[in-house]
Assembly symmetry: C3
Homo-oligomer: 428 residues x 3
């Protein structure tokens, strides 16, 4: 296992047990782990703050949550604990309101969620905007429940507090921004979204060490309300975002999947299409369902944010269940996702148009030291990349467009352009 | 069998035996049957009236037509009748000029038409613009003909009279028209075109009972000359036609087939494509051969008329033969065609553009009573239709365009738009 | 074998043994043979003349070249000749510098080129821009070489002289030109490019006998440097070229292959696509590698030159080997290529836009003597071509666009347009 893979996995292992939701201590603990790698700014927005059509909710925290079967304990309340948040963060419906009481089996039923088709898996459920409480458990746990009565403890607090998100700005030559986001609100689900977070942090660390044309901004916020809150808090920032990338599910099954922006033809779409195709991945059109791309792409913001994942939400059986655990995420998939992201960013950073300064026929490349000397054989990729660049460098066709037309990697065309610039055959 | 199917079939059964051509009593009798369901105006245009490059022809009527084999009757003229119009309206070439005489087999030959590849079927032939007479018969009848001589009777009249067509106007909120036509000139051919006529009349009856944005005009005229005559008679009407639909062959074999307008990208093309795809049907580009769409789409009129049929003319073996009988037409196909037509008309009537009034991120649908309350599960079609509408309602993208992009039925997107309008999230 | 095929083959048989390169007597001899059929002007450009980024090279000629094994002859120099240019023009690397000397096997090795995967074939190699000498031989010859030493003779001259090319101008009604080129620099390789030359000369001979709208210019020059030299010598001509065709490999294996211009959508691309599709051929996008299309399409010239070949360079095993001999080229392929070229030229010469003068419905073609008289049957191709032309002749849509839309040959639509013009139904 490479250092990189080991680092990404270790980070996920520390994040996995934390009980996260859209607000609360779990988010703060998560941001603290991410902040060990890059100097993340932690921002807090008070409950009740308006955010466009939404309002920052009360902060949710949990001390304990369990169901005890007191039907066979002689009524002393010391019965067997049958469901316990301490065993798995998915056991409690996220944002459950506090509750303490003794319930019959019939009274308990409406508060229980299972997955009959996967009897060993615990589902993931939330109730952010309806005041309710509930437990998620495996079908096997459910089937083993007795007749009760049950002692139920939901020791949560839901009170004015704050919504927390992390932000990292890497200034570039220009104020035009590339926004990279990944949601921090999901509890013990590895692919969705510890994979996204661990890759995003590595990308940020790499970019911090490189010269940058664009300003890069990483935002680690809870889904939906976090993105909308960030947008509402940054009315002077979001109009400067030129390209956006929402990262999620980068370590699970399947090839890379890029979901286009709402318009479908923005520079980030072309950059991602070029890279994802080369990785054998899949391109999909925009739909208004999914992760925070749906907020960024909303008509009022119109931010060109694409989404990079592997098999998307809802299309793999482990999605939003306890089977989305650390074993579902592979190191190779994480590493490949990081490489692809770096390649997409390279295109966005370095795509440019040039002008052929020797446009009357093909230059005698050999006289510039740029051509193999014995004729009659096939040209190498390097020579082909030069010929393609010379053929289309009309001051309007970009290197990416040339690479796509040529069927060559962007990096090869960029190197060719550098060589031709060096030889005086190309002008900026 | 539903009331609807029963009604459509009964109408066809009454129309089937009538000897129709492009003019004459058969057309009048046909219009009378159609007029029992909707208040059809019968229009008459005198023979000799000019109609652009054409002239309304003489009116053709027929009392009787037969061939008698007098070769074996001892010359008393009472021989066996071997072909008789009374048996089938296809036996006489349409627009045959009057003739009475005794002919040898050799003299008769050039006037006989058969289908050797389908020995039991009678072909359908016309001679509108060449003064001639002829008989159509099955190959078996032909093979059984003796050596003659034959007594031939073509008791027709071809004389100044009139061309007749039926017209129904259903006024709408605007003077912009949707034109629906179906040809009335074919004799005992069930799919071509009793099926088109019986469906068209049902559509007219439905629309008569509904509020209408467009003015609807139904024209039941003979093919080619009837359409051109209608155009020539209505120079103030046809420029108001925004969408046209030519109906034919709606009950025979095969899925629905929509033939695009000459331009191929008119609103009626998009509406029909949306509906016909959902019905598993087929879309074809325009060609200048077929039914009256070729007149409406002519460069001078430039009326955006598409054509709805099933397997088109010439592509099913029964076409233009006696095998295009009432058994070739199925009730299910007639009913489905009517539903598809209603859906196409619904798109033309109700497509519109709206503007998202809460464009900064996704509105909190739950707070408007528009969203299921427990998160973590897939959105329903109704919610998805709202999300798609909000995502693309930019004041320029129409509901149909949104439905096509979303892969949702137009009706679902229209309902979503209504809900969002009701909640104040969308503006007109 | 037709006269045409016999003529084309006889011409190739005379050209095959000539030792051609990019300059020298071989080119002159080749142009002399081509000039027997059409009055070719032979142009000479002195060595050292600049041509954009290039310079006309020294002229190369060869008297003899051989390798003699003197290892077993007792040192009298009369040993066995193991490789001899007199046997095959491919034996000598083209543009080999003069050399005479005795070499050990080890010293000889770097100067030998073989094709191990095809042990009986001699490869084709050049060294135009690096001063070197070398021999090409079959792997079997190579394997049979002894230990040497070897007497080597490369009796060539490389000295100031001239670059020669042939040019034929066929004036037309307008000064706008169609440029047809085919390279003359390859030695005994039949498909590449005696096939291109023999077809090009036949096309020129045909065009010389026809009325011409465009001025036609045929250029027979060495590849790359020849094309660039012609361009440099004709700065007032090349801006007048509207359409270009580079011909090569027209008699070898595979269907016709048309390579589009750099822009991909020029008139010559549409004309060639129409014709080549009808011949079951293949269309390919531009790439900046290949024959002289890469010079003509260079940004500075921007000449819309497509390339017609069969299976292109490098894609058939015989390419650039002695197996590209006269047996690889078939008469049927040569004749078909000439027909296709004539059809492409016909489109370029005769494509035009017309206006329907009877646009209100379909004209009554029968009244103009243009329609079969008995109705109810399918329209013939001639009638369909008229109907398509009338349907789309809006003064902007060209006959080629109509033919493509109709799926009819250009020639059929052109005939229909002529008939309709004659009947007064169409205007220019």
């Amino acid at each position: 296992m490479s250092d990189l893979a080991e680092r990404m996995r270790a980070r996920m292992e520390r994040l996995y047990p934390i009980c996260r939701s859209i607000t609360g201590d779990g988010v703060r603990a998560t941001l603290a782990v991410l902040g060990e790698t890059v100097p993340l700014q932690v921002r807090a927005v008070a409950s009740g703050t308006p955010a466009y059509d939404w309002t920052v909710p009360e902060e949710w925290n949990v001390r304990a949550a369990w169901i005890r079967d007191v039907g066979r304990d002689g009524g002393n309340g010391a019965g067997r604990t049958v469901v316990d948040l301490a065993d798995h963060t998915l056991h409690l419906v996220s944002y459950s309101v506090p509750f303490r009481g003794r319930l019959s089996r019939a009274e308990l039923e409406p508060h229980l969620h299972t997955l009959p088709e996967h009897p060993d898996w615990i589902p993931y459920r939330t109730s952010y905007y309806t005041r309710d409480w509930g437990f998620c458990l495996s079908q096997r746990q459910y089937d083993a429940l007795g007749d009760g009565p049950f002692e139920v403890c939901v020791d949560t607090t839901l009170a004015p507090g704050e919504l927390t998100y992390g932000e990292l700005v890497l200034p570039g030559e220009t104020a035009e921004e590339i926004l990279v986001t990944s949601h921090v609100c999901h509890p013990s689900l590895a692919n969705d979204n510890l994979a996204g977070l661990t890759v995003a942090v590595e990308l940020a660390a790499r970019l911090a060490e490189q010269p940058r044309r664009h300003t890069f901004r990483f935002v680690f916020a809870p889904g939906t309300i976090g993105a909308i809150t960030w947008l509402a808090q940054n009315p002077d920032v979001w109009p400067r975002v030129r390209h956006g990338l929402v990262l999620t599910g980068l370590g699970g099954p399947g090839p890379l999947v890029y979901k286009r922006t709402r318009h479908g033809d923005r520079p980030v779409d072309r950059a991602a299409a070029h890279v994802v195709r080369a990785h054998g991945g899949e391109l999909r059109d925009y739909s208004p369902y999914g992760y925070d791309e749906r907020q960024f792409n909303a008509l009022g913001f119109d931010i060109a944010a694409g989404r990079l994942s592997r098999t998307p939400h809802g299309e793999y059986p482990e999605y939003h269940t306890s089977a989305d655990n650390l074993a579902l995420v592979t190191d190779d998939h994480l590493v490949e996702a990081l490489e692809a992201l770096q390649e997409i960013v390279d295109v966005l950073e370095h795509d440019a148009t040039y002008t052929n300064l020797r446009p009357y026929g093909e230059p005698q490349l050999g006289s510039y030291g740029l051509y193999p000397t014995t004729g009659g054989r096939s040209a190498s990729e390097a020579v082909m990349a030069m010929l393609w660049t010379l053929a289309y460098a009309d001051g309007a066709t970009s290197l990416l467009a040339i690479a796509d037309r040529a069927g060559l990697p962007f990096a090869a065309v960029r190197r060719a352009a550098d060589d031709l610039l060096g030889a005086g055959l190309l002008g900026g």
